[in-house]
């Protein structure tokens, strides 16, 4: 939300500017009756009356370019103004470097706005120069380490121009600052997935990294989710990695009852059942027990979900028992 022009003493209305007196302002066409009419400031009305006139006349001029600046300052979310501004930049052959500086300023004032970041992206595409993007997004992420727009722009720049080199250090620092910053974990995945690759070595390294973080805080969903994400790329699956399974069982033995741990063990059981590779630790009976523990004690808010999962495992349990019986009958 911008300041209204009413307190802005130095401000001259467009209608009072001699250099604009050849233009007839175009008031908003509201129709006969009021519908969602916003009580605009006088400045807002004035600027947009002239913007509508410029748009209608398709005027491509320096003064129009200047006018769009005033218009986006009053409402940075007006995509029409931004789009028209881009058309003007092209038509006038404006220096895009100064535009880059300008949009940086607007981003600093409105870091959570789709239009400003998109404008930035188009400029970088036109210039084919991503040299400032890591710093710009880095600054925005310093203000708010979870700013979705900033991350999205950063990922785009990195992916388009191959700027992966120092990204892992950047992510490491953010995770060290706040190990619960899920956006940073997501970025870690992005780097491995798009750049480093999921070689056996990288999978192992990421697993070790994540387990260290889980040791540190057991209730951190971000780390648990990342662990599961990494294991998608482990050929042995969720249940086949001995480092992970023994880590989990160790935590469990030490009385850790983090719902994420229990859920993780359930997922191991689930995979073992589906693969037909159940064992004394990972089987339907264990899964049923864990679902019940979550539903009634450790994760009550999700009791409906865990009860639903429990029913699924009970069916598998039934099959397990039937199979055992069959095997026993065969022995006889």
């Amino acid at each position: 939300m911008s300041d209204s022009g009413d307190s802005d003493v130095a401000w001259t209305y467009y209608k009072d500017r001699p250099e604009w007196n050849d233009v007839t302002p175009v008031p908003e066409d509201e129709g006969p009756n009021l519908v969602v009419v916003i009580a605009h400031s006088e400045k807002f009305v004035d600027v947009y009356d002239y913007f509508r006139a410029v748009l209608q006349n398709n005027e491509k001029s320096e003064r129009a370019l200047h006018l769009t600046k005033d218009a986006v300052e009053l409402n940075p979310a007006n995509y029409t103004v931004w789009q028209y501004r881009r058309d003007l930049l092209k038509a006038l052959g404006t220096d895009l470097r100064s535009e880059l500086d300008y949009v940086e300023l607007v981003i600093k004032n409105s870091p959570k706005n789709y239009q400003v970041w998109h404008h930035r992206r188009v400029l970088v595409e036109w210039l084919q120069d991503p040299s400032q993007e890591l710093e710009l997004t880095g600054d925005a992420l310093m203000q708010d380490p979870k700013n979705y727009h900033a991350w999205q722009h950063r990922q785009w720049a990195i992916k388009t121009f191959g700027l992966y080199e120092k990204e892992m250090d950047f992510v490491d620092n953010l995770i060290t600052d706040d190990v619960r910053n899920n956006s940073a974990w997501n970025q870690r995945y992005f780097i491995v997935n798009n750049h480093l690759g999921w070689s056996d070595l990288n999978v192992q390294r990421e697993i070790c990294y994540t387990l260290e973080k889980i040791k540190f805080i057991k209730n951190n969903e971000s780390a648990w989710n990342y662990l599961k994400g990494v294991l998608i790329h482990d050929k042995r699956g969720l249940s086949g990695n001995a480092v992970v399974t023994s880590f989990c069982e160790e935590l469990y033995k030490n009385k850790c009852r983090s719902p994420y741990l229990l859920a993780f063990i359930i997922d191991i059981c689930d995979e073992a059942i589906k693969k037909g590779e159940t064992n004394c630790l990972h089987n339907a009976t264990r899964a049923v027990e864990l679902c019940q523990a979550l539903a009634t004690k450790y994760d009550k808010i999700r009791s409906k979900y865990w009860n639903y999962m429990c029913e699924k495992f009970k069916k598998a349990q039934q099959e397990e028992e039937n199979n055992k019986e069959k095997a026993a009958n065969m022995d006889e």
């Binding site: 209204s4 175009v26 908003e28 066409d29 509201e30 129709g31 006969p32 009756n33 009021l34 519908v35 969602v36 009419v37 916003i38 009580a39 605009h40 400031s41 807002f44 409402n75 940075p76 979310a77 007006n78 995509y79 029409t80 789009q83 789709y114 998109h118 992206r121 188009v122 380490p145 979870k146 979705y148 999205q152 990922q155 992916k159 706040d178 190990v179 619960r180 910053n181 899920n182 997501n186 995945y189 992005f190 997935n193 798009n194 805080i217 057991k218 209730n219 951190n220 969903e221 971000s222 989710n225 990342y226 994400g229 998608i232 009550k300 808010i301 409906k304 979900y305 009860n307 639903y308």
Partner: protein
Amino acid sequence: MENRIRCYEEISSETFDTENVVTDSSSDQVDVEAVILKIFKQFEKSAEIEPEFPVIRKRVHCQLLKDYLRTLPQKYECLDASRTWIVYWVLHSLSLLNDMPDAETLSDVVKFLTLCQHDDGGYGGGPGQYPHLGTTYAAVNALSIIGTEEAYNSLDRSSLQKFLWTVRDVDGSFALHKGGEQDIRGAYCAVSIAKITNTYTDALFDKTAEWIVSCQTYEGGFAGCPGMEAHGGYAFCGIASLALLNKTHLCDVDALLRWCVNRQMRLEGGFQGRTNKLVDGCYSFWLGAAFPIISAILSQENKELLETVLFNQGALQEYVIICCQALPGGGFIDKPGKHRDVYHTCYALSGLSVAQHGTGAGDPFIVGRPSNELNRIHPLYNVAPHLAYNAVHYFIRHPPPVKDKN
């Protein structure tokens, strides 16, 4: 039994365990919990003497919404390019509260939306603004809610379909406007618009489902574009568009379900939008509405009807009614301490409706007095089910004058 209300004791036992490692995320969380707990405590005291608590102050909300349908204060200047959204948010909220404006007012609204319709097809955020998928989605939904011949006929579907083609990319994704940003909102809005107005063709959405699936993340939710973090708003867009395209089998529904259930906050009862972020009333809808969609998918897959939604419906209702109502003025908020706005009002109410009605099968579960019951929504479009069907059928009976070139 699983749908009972939680008492204060229960809620207060769910406080965040920092494990002696305080970070920005945890201290923000701890702060919010302290405020919420205070409100629940206060509520329990007042509920002792007022057995009908908690109450949705329907009349107050309706009055505010009806005022907003005419004029809005200056602080809404930032939504000057989203006025069709405001129309939709207000009308949908009033429709949920079962208090629609009179016919004359609705006719005024149709005339206003017509002014927002662009010659190139689609709707801008206000008269004379460029067409945009978000503001077009809002306008189409608003017209469906109004549901009169005048409303339906005001829509120029030939140019609308042309507009949809201009924002489509070869990979099946959609930009929000010509020259604008591309993300999963674009795909959802385009699919929803095309399905309601019968401007859908297979060619228009070729590869769209595959593109959407590429937005599903390792966490199970969907991101705005491939590579980004799973997010509640985008997860709704993802699963709702796949459902509209009949392509849900392409995504991992079990992973999505796990991610969605984990977004419900154990103390607050409301939903967060991303892992380790804070509760926000608007996610009551974005995440809440994913659940009936998921239940429908699982029922299809397992050939066994899942009549319930797999989140805690009572806890969500408590959060929205007790913590998110802006009183005495009306409207709903993100979380205590924030200001009300039309967006949060619409999505808090929409989520509340899902929490009350679940999949729509069986009796509703209403927290507080029975008159708290809201009307139902169609979880794929977020308008009332009968209004969505009426619009769809009207547009099927009245095909657009010009056929799609493809």
